[in-house]
Symmetry: C2
Subunit: 409 residues, 2 copies
Amino acid sequence: MLNENFLKLSGSYLFAEISRRVKAFKADNPDAQVISLGIGDVTQPLCSAVTEALHKAVDEMAQQSTFRGYGPERGYEFLREAIVENDFRARGIDIDADEIFINDGAKSDTGNFQELFASDIRVAVTDPVYPVYVDSNVMSGRGGEPDALGRWTDITYLPCTATNGFVPELPQGHVDVVYLCYPNNPTGTTLTRGQLQLWVDYALSHDVLILYDAAYEAYIRTPDVPHSIFEIEGAQRCAVEFRSFSKTAGFTGVRCGYTVVPRQLTVRDSAGRRVQLNPLWNRRQTTKFNGTSYLSQRAAQAIYTPEGKSQVRATIDYYKENASLMREALTDMGMRVFGGTDAPYLWLQLPEGVSSWQFFDIMLNQANVVCTPGVGFGPSGEGFVRLTAFGRRESTTEALQRIKTQMTI
Amino acid sequence: MLNENFLKLSGSYLFAEISRRVKAFKADNPDAQVISLGIGDVTQPLCSAVTEALHKAVDEMAQQSTFRGYGPERGYEFLREAIVENDFRARGIDIDADEIFINDGAKSDTGNFQELFASDIRVAVTDPVYPVYVDSNVMSGRGGEPDALGRWTDITYLPCTATNGFVPELPQGHVDVVYLCYPNNPTGTTLTRGQLQLWVDYALSHDVLILYDAAYEAYIRTPDVPHSIFEIEGAQRCAVEFRSFSKTAGFTGVRCGYTVVPRQLTVRDSAGRRVQLNPLWNRRQTTKFNGTSYLSQRAAQAIYTPEGKSQVRATIDYYKENASLMREALTDMGMRVFGGTDAPYLWLQLPEGVSSWQFFDIMLNQANVVCTPGVGFGPSGEGFVRLTAFGRRESTTEALQRIKTQMTI
């Protein structure tokens, strides 16, 4: 009766374990002022362009003549057109509104998209990796069994380490689908256009589908780093892209994102015929999803107005300034820091012999600062922790000061 | 590579076909004032208790001190507690907040819940039925093949007809899961407490799980009709319940609902051990869902305030008055009408020999009124159409007038 794949998963999600340890620490140290640089949640409020749009949308919902019930499952055209114009056409990318699916955040679609595939396909992920890609495939029977390090026997892992500059090598054996996330969560590193072109070329020549998570795209400032995989020649024939307004505009509580499924994109069926994914994803969404809140969609549209753009940019710059301060301070302390340039995440390499969870406990106890143990993202994350730049400025600088003065490691 | 179950589904969803025919009719008859009594969407605006709560929540999101990022995946406690208190404890039902999962509408969870089960379980549905239950199981490989009438070989159908008073008989052969929806979509009929008790007793004695969709609960006024399956002794050991604010408070565009997964509820694994569903559903949600919009949750909370309750009740009464007018007028025309007493749907039996789609076309052409062909919900829906009471009063009475004076059938 049961889908027993669920029983293979550990009950405790990474962030639940962190939360448990923090709670225990606070219980033992009720006076400690704990600062979290751990979970990737934003702290700055919604910008005024967005809140004005929200108030206006609420007023519309209060009047019969402007009330809106069910919207289109794939999202309102006003938002899909704004996305096409600003996120794609402005970068010379030819994507149209029917290739955009609005959702309630990237997590849902990165988790659900695998439903379109057979349960025996081979999935590749980077190591370390955002746990949703792995867990959603394990639930669908694509994991096999977990080994002692937490790696699944039927999943192909592509290590990203300091040695290879966090650039995953192309898979050796056969894979059907590969998940890539750039700017990367958790390492905060990016791929250049040339590095991503190698992946697209590989995908086209090996008939591999790339599921590309670009949730942190808004943090890119380096010119040679692509904002979308569709900047790369051929990508519309081999890739789906996931975008989110969560970290772009502080929508972690508002819930809105989108997925791009190009019309050109096909995968083979068992008879070798090519089948378009766009109508299949539409069929999935019309069956199991009833559209994103009208309010959230109006909020998202406001991000693309001139005021919205500049306000959102200011908040991103604020977080990016946090990241710079963190990079600088930690480097000054003699630590090796990756990421944080085109991403809100810093990936901190720990001194030889110190494990992720050991460092987590030391930092919590000595500096009262919470980080995320790298090993929680996969075995290649051992010896690292992830820090996020989403804190308030004063908390971030206070945390850095404490790390500098109170920690002995 | 592909999940080929998707290819078995017809591309055209019922409402897409209706929309195509209406569009064609409007193109040919640009002056016709078409009134829709078809798709089940509401028309009355949000009540002021809700819009005030929404404005307040937007203001909170505009200030750093009150801004909210990620909420708990299972929903904020303020809402779960309000639900427990008002929807359950007030009816003498002992459900607690940890058994409630807030979602973005019942369609998502009724579609997704089957992920917890093995792909070879046997599913039973009523006929006619809300298509989501069937299609989501077909996508997961539980359908077998469709027959000429659109029924799936591996799904057990329980006919609901005028002959059995739309009360489904208990399945003859083995089934693992049965979907029940009361008040029913599409027939608008209900089960009494005694009738539902038979189902619960059957489920307990045959180890069957009931997935109970109570999205239209707010329309019940008849005393002997249960609002929740958990009013029935033993149901917490054999049932999950889906609720929605869509038709209760006009949230079809706001998106909020909830699912109740009792702690007592278990299903067997392949070794015959009993496994609790509540933690499994939580694992599913924490992996593939990031919580419902904070704004939508505050909106839902407002429904449970004294003002919210009376305002919401007034709107439901408005729709129920539509339903009464429709029942009365159609009965006066000599038609046989079911439902519409404790539900926003009326199920109209057509004259002998007239098919659902024939009647749809006649009503569209002669009265310029849109209905939903009953056969679209399953073969036992042939010879019926569904009408909804969600229209504005003036449109509803105008539609009835036209049906009376302009239709010759």
